[in-house]
């Protein structure tokens, strides 16, 4: 069973479109994240949710909006896609109540290409 699953794995879309990436974790974790990985492999945290509540919102354009319907799901909506949004987006989760020190479990990534 996949611990953190995200769909779609590949997404090619045109500039200006709106797209969503879905994420689900079956680990029973309280905290979920979205990371962006650029072409240089740098992992940048975008959002963190704890029990459906937004905890961290790094400097991310407001075209990106996370939505957490329950603590097992954290979806990412992106409006008005731009070329610079092309990247790999990773959903992740970590366990128990504390955000720190716990192992972060990553999904396999969603490759977004904006043309």
């Amino acid at each position: 069973d996949t611990a953190v699953s995200q769909t779609p794995k590949y997404l090619v879309t045109q500039m200006g479109n709106d797209k969503s990436i879905k994420c689900e974790q079956n680990l029973g974790h309280d905290t979920m994240y979205w990371y962006k990985q650029d072409s240089k492999k740098f992992l940048k945290i975008m959002f963190s949710y704890n029990n459906k509540e937004l905890i961290i919102n790094e400097t991310v354009p407001n075209r990106f909006s996370p939505k957490s319907p329950d603590k097992a799901h954290l979806n990412l909506h992106i409006n008005s896609l731009e070329l610079g949004d092309s990247a790999v987006y990773f959903c992740a989760s970590s366990g128990l109540s504390g955000l720190s020190g716990n192992t972060i479990y990553f999904g396999e990534g969603s490759w977004l290409t904006v043309v």
């Binding site: 240089k40 492999k41 990773f90 720190s100 192992t103 990534g109």
Partner: protein, 113 residues
Amino acid sequence: QQQVKQSPQSLIVQKGGISIINCAYENTAFDYFPWYQQFPGKGPALLIAIRPDVSEKKEGRFTISFNKSAKQFSLHIMDSQPGDSATYFCAASILGGSYIPTFGRGTSLIVHP
């Protein structure tokens, strides 16, 4: 401000050699230092981690060396294999609080057969 500095950015090693990746941190409150391994097309996954109460932790061919006074820690991969070719990330965190781990910028390791 980059709180965890990782080097080198890329590393090429021959099969059987030793791969060494270094990280330095600034925040003395960090007390948990994991390393993640990411294969192409996959998400990062925890490889090995260390607490600052020990200076070394070994799991198979992978060893973390930790120098608290220098605020540095490193990953050593002994007898490197082509299957170790991946991107490695160091990270630092604070246990028991609400701190999200800070990642280094990653090291791309290639092990030639």
